[in-house]
Amino acid sequence: MELKKKVQDLRVIETSRLNKRHFILELEAPEKLPLILPGQFVQALIKDSPSTFLRRPFSVHAVDYRKNSLRLLIQIKGPGTQHLSELKEGDPLNLIYPLGNSFSLPFTKDVLLVGGGCGVAPLLFLAQFLNHNNIYPTILLGFRTREEVSEIDAYAASGKVHVITDDGTEGEKGLVVDHSIFQLERLPFKKIFCCGPDAMMKAVAKIARMHKTDCEVSLENTMACGFGVCLCCITPTDKGNERVCVEGPVFNINRLKWQ
């Protein structure tokens, strides 16, 4: 399979609203998809929007090589995501993809995936990828409220799912780090993959360190290019300032110098 990055017009083949703030875009490539790894992302061009000059990054939520399609899970935040939410079947969407590194294949079967908000996006793809490698992870998903809990069936097909909501309207109540999984004296996981808001990832990283559990996080960042040339998206690591869009977005927490 090709490993080159592409700039390509894909076509919207399905859009579906998960809830008020989240939706799925399924996009079909005009030719064979390149190899895409879990954790990688795309840079989407928002055409015809006066308030979005730069592309917008989104993690790949799922890939279907037979259909040559990929899915994005998007949370509406500002003008760019609003505009994407209004795309219709058949509309073109120009992507640069696939970008960034990926989650690593763990040397253990005791794997926990933790996601919150739109940070759940890459985890479905990751879970399916782990399944292909005979790993069936535990998956902890945090949502604001019951209304936003979605795609649980899809996750359940790939591992054991736990849900926690801020307001307790579904699953346990609290932030992901409040979940009973983390209250055990010894964490039954040898590897954690985590994706979500900064504060959440930092909190999970703290727990992982405490338990000396290996942990990878997928960082958010403001990006101008997404493919390594502008140096706008750096994060301090043990090797100095590294680019989140090339050396990341996935980093082992041991390498990060989070404040």
Binding site: K5, F53, A224, C225, V229, C230, L231, I234, T235, N241
Partner: protein, 305 residues
């Protein structure tokens, strides 16, 4: 129609007038998936300084209306790393590979220029006396004519190939600065670097950038860039390389008509990494349509009578 898109700048041959701007094209290698740099007139690689620099803290970027602010701050691994690790990888791109030379002191500019002078396959440097994103980082050299003359003259003494100087637009009189670097011995002038700007997050009541202010680029600044290219083209007799907000071939032609012998594509690379080649093609079709055989006939060909 037979057309010739080639351009000569201070004796250096460019196969076409389209090049890429420093800091927006990395060292070219990140673009190999998208385009063949050999099809461009040249590439201007990321700023190189004397020593390793980590640059500024995150956040370094803010989106603005038809533009963006950056405060990267010359992050790079220094000239020795460049000579050892980067140069071997890029020296054989089939185009003019030009290095953007930055520094905080005249000594640093001289050190970098001297070392690059020894690299056979780098035919020119672009002296960046205009970076707004580092304290003591060049912009002072780019805003005071006497200092601009001095740094250019000192580098001229040690650098034997084509010496371009990149000017800052954050000045009262761009022509004074242009004349100053001509006096210092520059072979060509690049303009413009970014305009000093600022973005604020009203909800958080904080600046968006860690450095508070940063450099504005993109289509927002094109009218200012065009004006400066036009003014400098009329004021000096050395070639001008124009940039600032070029997004397509029409923009490029506007700069050429205003007096640019070559143009650089900057921020546009982020939005479409293949855009520089599209601009080459677009200039070609413009010449076809307007029956222009030599692209050099378009340089400064604005009709103002």
């Amino acid at each position: 129609m037979m057309k010739d898109l080639s351009i000569n700048i201070a004796g250096l041959h460019f196969k076409n007038p389209v090049t890429t701007a420093s800091g927006t094209f990395g060292y070219g290698d990140e673009f190999l998936d998208f385009i063949d740099p050999g099809k461009l007139g040249g590439i201007f690689v990321k700023a190189v300084t004397g020593k390793n620099r980590e640059g500024n803290a995150y956040p370094r970027m803010a989106e603005t209306a038809s533009g963006m602010l950056n405060s990267v701050g010359l992050q790079n691994k220094g000239i020795d790393h460049f000579c050892r690790e980067i140069y071997p990888k890029i020296r054989n791109f089939n185009t003019n590979v030009i290095v953007n030379v930055s520094g905080s002191t005249i000594e640093e500019y001289i050190e970098v220029a001297e070392k690059i002078n020894d690299l056979d396959d780098i035919p020119a440097i672009e002296l960046n006396i205009s970076c707004p994103n580092v304290k003591l980082g060049g912009m002072a050299f780019g805003t005071v004519p006497d200092m601009a003359t001095e740094v250019t003259a000192e580098v001229r003494k040690v650098y034997k190939k084509v010496l371009m100087v990149k000017l800052s637009p954050n000045v009262t009189s761009i022509t004074d600065l242009a004349k100053a670097v001509v006096d210092g011995g520059a072979d060509a002038i690049t303009l413009i670097n970014t305009l000093l700007g600022m973005a604020i997050d009203a909800e958080k009541r904080r600046p968006v950038l860690s450095t508070i202010t940063g450099g504005l680029s993109g289509p927002a600044i094109k009218p200012i860039a065009l004006r400066m290219v036009w003014q400098v083209h009329k004021a000096v007799h050395i070639p001008v390389i124009g940039l600032g907000g070029i997004m397509n071939a029409t923009d490029a032609i506007e700069f050429i008509l205003a007096g640019a012998s070559a143009i650089q594509v900057g921020t546009a690379n982020f939005i479409d990494p293949t855009v520089s080649l599209k601009i080459v093609d677009g200039i070609d079709s413009y010449m076809e349509r307007h029956k222009i055989k030599l692209v050099s006939d378009l340089v400064g060909a604005l009709r103002t009578e």
